[in-house]
Structure formats: structure tokens, C-alpha cells
């Protein structure tokens, strides 16, 4: 079959994009998702706080997921759940498997919105036995909120970022006694209030500069060995559940299968400020290009991509699509900054057209280090385009306002963002 736009992934980014494309009068918009229900990760995040920046009200995860599924469906997008894109049969031609069989969908444009996942224990090379009872937050939430499982006994949470506190709440809800949140970083990475509340209300401490050295337990999980990175002291903490949280990686397998260029920092597809990838008319949005932001940011990223997809389809009416007149200018970071998204600045297709703004007129960055008062310096060649103040916390978004975009020159080479000294 054919579609004007095929969207892979019915999470916040994909569904918000579908609704926006229909609002912009794009004809046939097909959204496919491999899960049984559309909505993405918010489906099994029972806590509230969804919708702040996009809907300007606060919903629970499941309500938020339903909202976007309804909006996209009402706008006239076709949403098909329990359908897996297993590969590509050609440019923008996807192979799908579902209970209905195997089919191909050819689209004029594709939006990849496949999201991200947490690194599981093996990917973190944590040694020791391999008992059950070790999981990621994603698995934990599905077990507790989708399947109603109870998890009695003691639990340890690895990580101290937002999602780690969310895991702690889920564990408490499932009847577990959370012993501690442990992080190898010198400080926790979530809002200060969360850590204070965790300690006060649930008596859960955050153990910083602490690494998981070993998992112990042949049949069932028995304990974890924790090392204090400051003193080298090792202690054994008995537990029945161990949850590895955060440490996000984009689900980029379909992008790589399509031969799309991957940004070494984000590990998602490299995208320009219009969220187009290295493949013509293949776009990527949401946590696939910035793992992980909150759902509202993913949705706004989807809406941004939708507008540029609609523009590309309008420009491509007829046979060939004219290439943008000015080639994109790459934008990169130097350590200790970890990555920036998007990864290139695109110019409007009109000759001499201005640079296009990223979603929400800001670039998103990550830092490997804590800095209370950092200065981000934006340079192109030897010209300093901007110096912006920022607070850096590993795993937490750093925003770089794109007000300086008007000053870049298409001929001056890549833009570099560094941490200014002093």
C-alpha cells in the first residue's frame, strides 16, 4: 500500500506528528506501532506530570497516551497497533509484519519515532551471577502497572536521575522496601526536592559515588556488592529486586537498517534543525534523537518534524524534490559536553534563505559533568556567536537558546559548542 507519510512509533512524538500532519492537510498519514496499544512509554508510567509544556495541563501517563492517540485518530490519521516494521524493501518502503500478514508500505516521507530504552544490566557489564529479579524501569513498570505484579522484599535502584525516583515510587507501590538509590556520580541528578522527599517520606537514601560491583544469587537474587568509589570500601546489600534505571540509548535499529547516518554523541540518527536525517525525506523525532527527554518535549519535537515534512511534501509535488539550496552546517560539542541535538543547521530552501530553528528554538545538550555555573560558548571558525549561562547535571537536559542562529554563515564550516573556561 501507499501513504503520504509513514510514522514508525505511536508514542508522543509519532502521534503528535500525525495529528499535526493532518492539521496541515497532508493526505494519508499512517502510524504503526509494535505494541498492542498506541501511546508509547507513558502508557505504563502511572505517575502524573505529563503534558506540562505541550498541553499546558497535567495528566497521568496513561491519560496522556490516550489523549494523543485520540487526537491523532480524530485528525484522520490511521493508527495501527501490533504492527512491526521489520525492515526496508527500498527507499521509504517499509516491510510490516502483523497478524494480518506481511505487507509493504511505500511512503513519500517517513518519520522515525521509535523512542529509546534503558541500558540493561549486561550492556553495563555488571559482573556476577545472573539470577532473576534484575530489571530495567521499563520492565518494572510494565510488571507493576500493566500486569499488576507485587514485588515484596528489599529493592535497590541503580541510578539517581528522574526515572530512578520514578522506579522507587513504582517499587513502593508494588510493596517493595527500597533500600537505597545508588549512583556512581558524586551527586544525585534529579530535582533536589525528590531526594529530600524520598528520604523524608520513604526513608530511601541516595548513596552517591557508589558503583555496583557484583550481583549475587544463583536461583534468586540475594545481594549486590557495592563499592564506595571514594574509599574503595565494599559492602554487601541483601535485596530481592535490582532495578537499573536511566542510561538511555535510542532504539535506532531501523534507522541503521536503512543506512541512515548515526550521530556518535546521541547515537540516534543525525538530524538537521528540520529533523531530516541523512536520507532524503526520512525524518526522525522524539527520544530517538534525544534520549531521553520528557514526553511533552518528544511531542513538540514530533510537531516540529511534521511541519517540515509537510513543507517537503509541498516542495516535492510533481516528480523530483529539489535539494535545499544551501547545504546544512554541522553543529557539534567538545567534551565534557556529551552531545547536542539536532546535529546540523538547515537552511530554508529559498536561495539565500535563513537558517531554520530547531524545535522550541533551542538546542538540547547533555553534559558528562556537574557544573553549577557553566558558560556554553558557541563558535563558528574563530567567531564567537554566543556565550550562554547553563547549569550542568549529567543526564539532565541543558538548553541552548538558538538566538544566535541568524549570525551563522553557510560558508564558515561547522559550529562548535564548548564549555568556556572560568
Amino acid at each position: 500500500m501507499n501513504a503520504d507519510v509513514l510514522i514508525v512509533g505511536a508514542g508522543p512524538a509519532g502521534l503528535a506528528a500525525a495529528a499535526e500532519l493532518r492539521r496541515l492537510a497532508v493526505g494519508q498519514v499512517l502510524v504503526v506501532d509494535r505494541e498492542q496499544q498506541p501511546g508509547g512509554v507513558p502508557r505504563h508510567s502511572a505517575h502524573t506530570g505529563y503534558g506540562l509544556r505541550d498541553l499546558h495541563r497535567v495528566l497521568t501517563g496513561p491519560a496522556y497516551a490516550r489523549h494523543y492517540a485520540d487526537v491523532a485518530a480524530r485528525a484522520g490519521a490511521e493508527i495501527r497497533a501490533a504492527v512491526t516494521v521489520t525492515g526496508w524493501a527500498g527507499n521509504r518502503c517499509a516491510t510490516l509484519t502483523s497478524a494480518a500478514g506481511i505487507e509493504s508500505v511505500s511512503a513519500r516521507a517517513v518519520l522515525l519515532a521509535t523512542g529509546c530504552r534503558e541500558r540493561p544490566r549486561p550492556a553495563r557489564l555488571v559482573p556476577g551471577d545472573r539470577p532473576g529479579g534484575v530489571m530495567t524501569t521499563g520492565e518494572l513498570q510494565q510488571r507493576v502497572f500493566l500486569r499488576g505484579e507485587r514485588l515484596p522484599g528489599r529493592a535497590v535502584v541503580v541510578g539517581a536521575e528522574h526515572v530512578s525516583f520514578s522506579a522507587m515510587l513504582t517499587l513502593a507501590h508494588a510493596g517493595a522496601d527500597v533500600v537505597a538509590l545508588v549512583t556512581d556520580l558524586p551527586r544525585q541528578q534529579s530535582y533536589a526536592g525528590f531526594a529530600v522527599a524520598a528520604l523524608a517520606r520513604w526513608r530511601v537514601p541516595v548513596w552517591t559515588s557508589t558503583a555496583v560491583r557484583r550481583v549475587e544469587g544463583r536461583e534468586r537474587l540475594a545481594a549486590v556488592e557495592l563499592a564506595d568509589l571514594r574509599t574503595g570500601a565494599v559492602r554487601r546489600v541483601e535485596c530481592d529486586t535490582l532495578v537499573f534505571t536511566g542510561d538511555w540509548i535510542p532504539d535506532h535499529e531501523l534507522a541503521r537498517a536503512a543506512g541512515i547516518a548515526i550521530d556518535p554523541g546521541t547515537r540516534g540518527p543525525a538530524v538537521d534543525t528540520g529533523l531530516e536525517t541523512s536520507a532524503r525525506n526520512v525524518f526522525a523525532a522524539g527520544n530517538l534523537v534525544h534520549a531521553a527527554e520528557t514526553a511533552d518535549i518528544a511531542a513538540l519535537s514530533g510537531i516540529h518534524a511534521a511541519r517540515h515534512i509537510a513543507a517537503a511534501l509541498r516542495a516535492g509535488q510533481g516528480t523530483g524534490v529539489p535539494s535545499p539550496v544551501t547545504p546544512p552546517v554541522p553543529i557539534t560539542v567538545d567534551p565534557p559536553l556529551a552531545w547536542i541535538s539536532p546535529n546540523a543547521i538547515r537552511f530554508s530552501s529559498a536561495p539565500g534563505g535563513p537558517p531554520i530553528s530547531p524545535p522550541r528554538s533551542r538546542f538540547l545538550l547533555r553534559s558528562q559533568v556537574f557544573r553549577r555555573r557553566a558558560v556554553l560558548e558557541v563558535r563558528q571558525g574563530n567567531r564567537v556567536l554566543a556565550r550562554n549561562r547553563a547549569r550542568l547535571i549529567p543526564g539532565r537536559p541543558v538548553h541552548l537558546d538558538a538566538g544566535w542562529l541568524a549570525r551563522i554563515r553557510s560558508s564558515d564550516g561547522p559550529v562548535l559548542v564548548t564549555l568556556a573556561r572560568g
Binding site: T86, A99, R121, R147
Partner: protein, 481 residues
């Protein structure tokens, strides 16, 4: 079940349902014999069998003239044919044995010569230029290599399951969760007769008493203890050799074409990089002698040494995600060769010290052991009708899986319902595994039958759903019982 006893003595009791024990039970099932296959674990192939490098060896590098050399060659040929019939995933990727130092390079002609002595003539020298042409991602510094074109990769989980399935369908009684705790042998007059060799074996187990005319010891890591119980000659002691391995994401698979072998040392075949039949890349194993026969934990040092070796052999491998880490224990002894012996008087056969080549040699070992038992007086009368290998569910990556098969999905939509996204395992395959001749006892058993949960997310997306499917099956089974 405790306390129930078979009405009469079995002709043969095989202790240990690893790949070797299962192969022996299968071989025995072709004759008019009553056979019991007992294992302490809740599934077949859960010891040394499940956690190895999953290579179907040609035996080119064995000690010439050894039993291992002969049985590996024979077993490898038999298994290649059997795998094709039973649907066991095998890929003939070939291997390149790479020399990284001048000393190693000098070893290559000796290795090639040894292969010829082992009856394998297809080893061929490869220059550095050809090596890098074939494996462009290989790290810098390789000097030369040998090509072993018939080294293959195989599924170590489907293989023992196929043997055991065939055996069970031919009437072998599989007793899982049955640990042998003691043994006695009656006199020539039978179990109740005067003590001494010649009578029936009476085995105490955690599932009651088992009586058998013959006993086969295929107890792997515990074979020395079983040997002592059965009054064997005690000529060997098991010293587990632990091997840690790292499995990389399928996105790493295009980095290599062949199995990349190192030049072996006295102790170990060394760290290799190999594709797997599931489309991943394997790095390992380490080799560490340990005392604890259950210690399959990975270690900081082990994983560290593997990543260091991987970085040298295939630098870009380390850029890809790790999907799994595990450790297996090889049942090594103080001897280099297999410890296979048959005692006609005691009616006792021992197949021990198989180390790391048991998977490849299994059918050769079974044929050899059963042949010796026949010579020692076990009556080997062929059953009526020919033995038919079972057709196992295909879980390899190179062939067509159910999610890719439009005809199959049209006939049964459950084959289009993907449950485990990373490995693309469908609801139909999980249903089939739960309803098979040897259903899984737990999630790990289901993993080995379907690949479910074995992928890159390690359960982030599907663990809850898959657990619910297997729990539902167990509830239904409980209701029927």
C-alpha cells in the same frame, strides 16, 4: 512423584541430559531397549551444554590419534547431516586462525600439518593482504592466517532439545529434576541378590529409586562423583574451567564474515570472535580453573580481559552494545583426552572429561559409547521402522523465521503477532514451545527454545508479557493436573 518406582528395571539409565547424555539416549532409543534419561536440572542441556562458544568444530586442531580427534571428526560429520534434517540452525562461516606475532606466525605450518594428521586437508594459508580483504574490520597488526573453511556455527540449545525430543518420542523416559544421590549394584542374581558386580544397578534419586541393567555416566561436571558412586575406576577428577563470554548486538554482525580464532596456547584455545546463529557476535571465552561446580558468575577481571582482547581483534566491536554476558563451565579433567570407558562386568559406561568439544562430537561419542556397550553385551536389536529426527522450530537468523513467512501467518495469525521485539519471536512460537514434547519449565527454558528475551533490550519491552504467557500456561497445566 517421590516414591514412585518403575515397575521393572530399565535396560539402561543415562545419568545427565546434557548434549552428550541426550545424544546417547537418542542413540539407544533406536534399539529395542527401555531407557531412562535422568537429570538433576529441570531441563535438558542446562550445564556445560548451554553456555559455550556454539561452534561446530571440524577437529582440525585436536591431538592427532586421540579419541577426541576421531570422535570429533565423526560427530561433526553426523551432526552436520542431522542438523539439516532436524532444523538445527547451522551456518558454515569458516574460520580464520590469525597470527598476531612472528612466533604465532611460525606456528601456522605446524597447525596446518596437525590438521592433516587429524584427517582434515582443507586448511589453507592466507596472507595478511587476503586476510584484511576478507575481514576489513580486523584490528591492525595481523601477520598471516590459516583458513579452515568448514568450521561452522551452531545452535547449542536446539541440538540437545532435538536429541531429547527424538528420544522421548521413541519411548525414552525423561526424568528431569532427578538428582542421583546414591547407587548400589546387586549380585549376578539381580538387585536383591548378594552384593558385588553383575546385578542390576539401584540408584537412589530425589525422585525415588531407579533400577537399571546398565548405567551410563554422562554427568558432565559431576561425572567424577557419579563415577565414584558407581564404583568406577576413579581415574579422573573434574576441575571446572570457567569461560566467560560477551554477546554483542546484532548490529555488530556485519563486522565479521568468519569465526576469528587465535593461535591456541597449552591451556586454552584462546579468545575468539565469532558470529552466532542468532545474528550476534560472540567474544570469548576466558579460561579459569575454579573449584565450585556451580560458579557461573562473570567477573570484573574476566569481562575486562575480554573487552581488551576484543578491542585488539575487532576494534569497532566495542562501539556496539553488549546484549548479554555469561559464563560456562567446561568439565575439564587432568587428562587431555576424553574419559570414555565401558565396564562389561559392572555394566557401566562412562563418558566424561569431554571439556569443550561435546557439542560438536556428541553424535560421534554416542555412537562410540553405544557400540562399546553392544560389544560388552548390551543387546542392540534395531527397532521396527526407521528413526526420524524431529523437526525443531527454527530459531536461526540465516533462514526464514515465522514472522517472515506470509504463508504461515495466513494459516495462523499468531505467527504474525510479534511478542519479543528484539528477537522477533511471535506468540505462535511461544505457544508452540509451551505445547512441545519438552515444554520449558521456566523463562530460561523458553529463551533457549524461542530466543524470547534474549535480545538487546533484555526485557525492557516484553519481559512482562512473556512472563504472563508462561505463567498462564503453568496455571492451565496446574488446573489440568
Amino acid at each position: 512423584m517421590t516414591g514412585t518406582q518403575p515397575a521393572e528395571a530399565a535396560d539402561v539409565i543415562v545419568i545427565g541430559a546434557g548434549v552428550v547424555g541426550a545424544a546417547i539416549a537418542r542413540e539407544l532409543s533406536r534399539y529395542q531397549l527401555s531407557v531412562v534419561l535422568a537429570d538433576a536440572a529441570n531441563d535438558v542441556g542446562t550445564g556445560t551444554t548451554k553456555a559455550n562458544t556454539a561452534i561446530l568444530h571440524t577437529g582440525f586442531d585436536t591431538v592427532p590419534g586421540s579419541l577426541e580427534s576421531r570422535l570429533l571428526r565423526r560427530g561433526s560429520a553426523l551432526l552436520t547431516d542431522y542438523a539439516a534434517l532436524a532444523g538445527i540452525p547451522v551456518e558454515r562461516t569458516g574460520a580464520l586462525l590469525v597470527a598476531w606475532t612472528a612466533e604465532q606466525q611460525q606456528e601456522l605450518p605446524t597447525i596446518q600439518q596437525r590438521a592433516s594428521q587429524n584427517g582434515y586437508d582443507r586448511v589453507r594459508p592466507v596472507t595478511a593482504a587476503e586476510l584484511y580483504r576478507r575481514e576489513p574490520q580486523l584490528g591492525p597488526g595481523a601477520l598471516a592466517a590459516l583458513e579452515i573453511p568448514d568450521e561452522s556455527i551452531i545452535c547449542p540449545w536446539t541440538t540437545p532439545l532435538a536429541y531429547a525430543t527424538e528420544a522421548v518420542r521413541a519411548g525414552v523416559r525423561l526424568m528431569l529434576g532427578t538428582r542421583v544421590t546414591g547407587a548400589q549394584q546387586g549380585g549376578a542374581g539381580g538387585a536383591g541378590g548378594p552384593g558385588g558386580a553383575g546385578g542390576d544397578h539401584v540408584l537412589s534419586t530425589t525422585h525415588g529409586t531407579l533400577t537399571g541393567r546398565w548405567v551410563v555416566n554422562a554427568a558432565g561436571l559431576y561425572s567424577d562423583r557419579v563415577d565414584a558412586m558407581l564404583g568406577g575406576d576413579g581415574g579422573f577428577t573434574i576441575r571446572p574451567r570457567r569461560g566467560e563470554l560477551i554477546v554483542f548486538d546484532k548490529l555488530a554482525r556485519p563486522l565479521i564474515g568468519s569465526i576469528l580464532l587465535p593461535v591456541p596456547t597449552a591451556n586454552s584455545k584462546g579468545v575468539l570472535v565469532a558470529p552466532t546463529v542468532y545474528g550476534n557476535v560472540l567474544l570469548g571465552p576466558t579460561a579459569q580453573d575454579i573449584d565450585d561446580r556451580r560458579d557461573t558468575a562473570t567477573t570484573t577481571d574476566g569481562l575486562g580481559s575480554l573487552t581488551a582482547a576484543g578491542r585488539r581483534i575487532l576494534p569497532r566491536l566495542l562501539d556496539e552494545e553488549v546484549t548479554a554476558t555469561y559464563a560456562g563451565l567446561r568439565a575439564a579433567t587432568e587428562h587431555r583426552d576424553y574419559q570414555i570407558r565401558v565396564d562389561a562386568t559392572r555394566r557401566y559406561a562412562c563418558a566424561a572429561g569431554i571439556r569443550s568439544t561435546g557439542l560438536s562430537a556428541s553424535l560421534g561419542i554416542a555412537e562410540h559409547v553405544v557400540g562399546l556397550m553392544g560389544e560388552a553385551g548390551l543387546p542392540l536389536r534395531q527397532r521396527n521402522g526407521t528413526a526420524v529426527p524431529p523437526v525443531m522450530p527454527y530459531i536461526g537468523q540465516a533462514g526464514t523465521r515465522p514472522y517472515q513467512d506470509a504463508t504461515l501467518i495466513a494459516a495462523d495469525p499468531d505467527y504474525g503477532r510479534i511478542v519479543c521485539h528484539c528477537e522477533r519471536v511471535t506468540r505462535g512460537e511461544i505457544r508452540d514451545a509451551l505445547a512441545s514434547t519438552l515444554p520449558p519449565a521456566d523463562l530460561d527454558g523458553l529463551r533457549r527454545r524461542t530466543r524470547a528475551l534474549n535480545g538487546r533490550c533484555q526485557g525492557f519491552y516484553c519481559a512482562a508479557t512473556v512472563s504472563a504467557l508462561i505463567a498462564g500456561q503453568q496455571v492451565r497445566a496446574g488446573q489440568q493436573a
